[in-house]
């Protein structure tokens, strides 16, 4: 079956621009997670959705970052006024519910020039 997909796979943008990163979870998975992985680091939690609502957004670094999941399936991570420090791989994961295995997508590599 289809796994978690993320688009685009690569995104290069200029400092100050707005970007949107998309995640298509495994069908039927109610939980969706966003993580950010900087070079040489492990993934760091950003935000978690249960259904349509953000259950935990404690990992979002500042108010330039926002994520939505309006219909409880696809999610979009939005970054305003991008900075060079936002350059990283943004990973999405989904699971059938909490305490279950999280299945990761291949990530979107964001480069801010």
């Amino acid at each position: 079956g289809a796994g978690v997909s993320q688009t685009p796979s690569n995104k290069v943008t200029e400092k100050g621009k707005y970007v949107e990163l998309r995640c298509d979870p495994i069908s039927g998975h109610t939980a969706l997670y966003w993580y950010r992985q900087s070079l040489g680091q492990g993934p760091e939690f950003l935000i978690y959705f249960q259904g349509t609502g953000a259950a935990d957004d404690s990992g979002l670094p500042n108010d330039r970052f926002f994520a939505v999941r309006p219909e409880g399936s696809v999610s979009t991570l939005k970054i305003q006024r991008t900075e060079r420090g936002d350059s990283a791989v943004y990973l999405c994961a989904s699971s059938p519910g909490t305490i279950y295995e999280q299945y990761f997508g291949p990530g979107t590599r964001l480069t801010v020039t």
């Binding site: 997670y33 760091e44 939690f45 978690y48 990973l91 295995e101 999280q102 990530g107």
Partner: protein, 110 residues
């Protein structure tokens, strides 16, 4: 805030050699997970361990969880080039989010 330290940071070995990598936590693990991540891919779960002293085997991989549930090791026997990747340990604590270490980058040369 829980901190996970993994060692070594990098490891390069020849095919057929054995190796061990380590993961230590600043606090007791709730549920320890080991992942492997290949370039351009997301992490893939290898194993979950919960009980102190637990040992789990997955083909040539042996995972050991410390009695105090604050440390773990991953041993690979007769490493193969296909074992190359970033090995990450993580804790799935009382919350839903995973807390990861920085990983050990393993290269197995043919």
């Amino acid at each position: 805030t829980q901190l996970l330290e993994q060692s070594p940071q990098f490891l390069s070995i020849q095919e057929g050699e054995n190796l061990t990598v380590y993961c230590n936590s600043s606090s007791v693990f709730s549920s320890l997970q080991w992942y492997r991540q290949e370039p351009g891919e997301g992490p893939v779960l290898l194993v979950t361990v919960v009980t102190g002293g637990e040992v789990k085997k997955l083909k040539r991989l042996t995972f050991q969880f410390g009695d105090a549930r604050k440390d773990s090791s991953l041993h690979i026997t007769a490493a193969q080039p296909g074992d190359t990747g970033l090995y990450l340990c993580a804790d799935q604590g009382g919350s839903e989010k995973l807390v990861f270490g920085k990983g050990t980058k393993l290269t197995v040369n043919p």
